[in-house]
């Protein structure tokens, strides 16, 4: 168990290191931050000063080693804009994103699981078809299309909900709805098939044969067994907590990490982009770890078996 955890952590760190390296190289190959920050009209001396100031004239591998060194000390570098710590720049945006994503994920899981269970229990009825049609629609509409559709509907035509910013609770409604709809659709589909599968398993027949009422048999026997398969899907959602809202945040001008990422890529603000990517990577890796651990907790068959006599 302990060994397993260590092995998983080592593998996770290698993943993050590879991610950092790739982002580092791609960013340096993609444009000159001096030009992006200062513009093309400034004197070559100013550009040269900027490059000197940020160490951009060093060979790439030297920059890389310096970056890794400071990273190891918990220093994520500094943003070219305002010369602030990149970590601070990202961290102040983080709560907005997390509020959005956590509410959207909770909503998606609750709605998706309920809809999926309902569809499975009423297989081939109108309820099932309705849920699956809505799910297919929610799944196929890209977030920016749905987001703009909602803005037009609630912001322009009915004018009952704000569409930009994050000042009040009401500002969050549309972005959360946008994010949750696609995820809920995915969850509904997976839940439906997982529940249908367990309903047909012999363990369900056994529960009924010993006298458990149908509803209780579904709740106590079928659903917990279906849940095991859903953990992986849930893990994917948790892994996207930081990265999942990039498009939606930009559509609704939500001041989170996602809109910061787009802005920083445009400005070639290396340190900030790298910090965000590392954060996304770590979230993903942690989510995977969580999935593995919850399997151990949920499914006794994955635990090491006790003496078998």
């Amino acid at each position: 168990m302990g060994l397993l955890l260590v092995r998983k952590l080592v593998r996770a760190s290698i993943t993050v290191l590879l991610l950092v390296t790739a982002v580092f190289l791609i960013l340096r190959a993609s444009g000159d931050p001096a030009v992006m920050m200062l513009g093309v009209e400034v004197s070559p001396v100013a550009l040269e000063n900027f490059r000197d100031r940020w160490g951009l004239n060093d060979p790439v591998w030297v920059q890389y080693v310096i970056y890794l060194k400071s990273l190891a000390q918990g220093d994520f570098g500094r943003s070219y804009i305002g010369d602030r710590s990149a970590w601070d720049v990202v961290a102040e945006r983080l709560p907005a994103t997390l509020i959005l994503m956590v509410s959207a994920t909770v909503l998606a899981v609750v709605a998706g699981v309920l809809a999926g269970v309902l569809a499975a229990l009423n297989r081939n009825s109108w309820i099932d078809r309705l849920v699956m049609i809505i799910a297919a629609a929610g799944f196929s509409a890209p977030n920016f299309v749905l987001g703009i559709f909602l803005i037009v509907l609630f912001g322009a035509i009915w004018q009952i909900l704000p569409t930009t910013g994050s000042d009040t609770f009401w500002h969050g409604v549309l972005p959360v709805l946008t994010l949750a709809s696609a995820d809920a659709a995915v969850f509904a589909r997976f839940t439906r098939s997982a529940v249908l599968e367990t309903l047909n398993q012999p363990l369900m027949r056994t529960a009924l044969a010993k006298g458990v009422p149908y509803r209780a048999a579904v709740l106590r026997h079928a659903l917990p067994n279906s849940a095991i398969g859903l953990v992986t899907v849930f893990g994917l959602f948790v892994g996207r907590l930081v990265s999942g809202a990039v498009v939606t945040e930009n559509v609704f001008a939500w001041p989170g990490v996602g809109s910061l990422l787009v802005l920083s890529v445009e400005n070639r603000d290396f340190a900030v982009v790298q910090t965000i990517v590392i954060l996304i990577g770590i979230t993903m890796v942690c989510a995977n770890l969580l999935v593995d651990l919850s399997y151990l907790w949920l499914d006794p068959r994955t635990r090491r078996t006790r003496s078998r006599t």
């Binding site: 044969a209 067994n225 078996t305 006790r306 078998r308």
Partner: protein
Amino acid sequence: MERLLEVAQLRVSFPSESGPVSPVEDVSFDVHAGEIIGLVGESGCGKSLGALALMGLAGPTATVSGSARYGGIDLVTAPQKELERLRGRDIAMIFQDPLSTLNPIMTIGAQIAEALHLGAERRQSSQQIQKTCVSLLSEVGLPQPAARLRAYPHELSGGMRQRAMIAMMLAREPALLIADEPTTALDPTVQAQILALLKRLRQQRGAAILLITHDFGVVAQTCDRIAVMYAGRIIETAPVEDIFFRPRHPYTAGLLRARASLGGGERPLEPIPGIVPPPGGRPKGCSFEPRCALARPECRLSAPLLTGDAHKFACHAPLPARYSRPAEPARSLAWPVA
């Protein structure tokens, strides 16, 4: 003898593209209180489905007709609520492979306790429940029963799992236990132990057992009476000695001849030619007619009815009553049972 369950003309049909298909066509038999009755037939003849239909578990798409009277209730027409109350309390069922039929993520103890809670008139303390669980598990011969309560199904061997399953189903002291191929997935020695356990439980608790199997060896060492099924119908039913020594239906006789014998190795195996007709493609007359050496013209015209008193059979051309092909004395089938 007191009749516990009277099944008459039980039929189970499913819709299909070419009209309804009935894997179980016409099943009639009685179960007497405290007896072990064997329901024998080749796989696919409808034995399991018929038993599931009795418990109202044939599935949502099945249409069940006929009657199955149990203590003033007709199991075929009873509402689901009523069947729900009946299941586990009056009639319980064990299955072939307890690895897939027990809940893999619940401990053995929790699964037995669930059955006990269902039967309890008022809430029992958890210590009380646990004590009952332990005594149930030791009754079915599970070693270290207290430790086994915390075990998951995959942590037990096949025989242990089947014992745990039996304990769970006996928790509410049903009057009838349906055992659907309970030993098919087990090693022969374990098989004999489980059968001995069923016999012992019948004696101690007086529960009747409907033992479904394709294995004549299993019925020989366990059952009081046998009902032989072929293509969705009961074709012969009689006390166990009559079936083994004086079979009247050619199919029964054929099944007995097709068995490998343990004692007399000199007798060659005689398989029954042909295959069992599928539910959709059964002949109009006797289902066994195409494979029967004794078939007469009338066998093609109408399906024979199950007639007789203690020894019933459904055949237009039965074997003579005196016929006594020494179909393997029952004792040679018995394993040395502890």
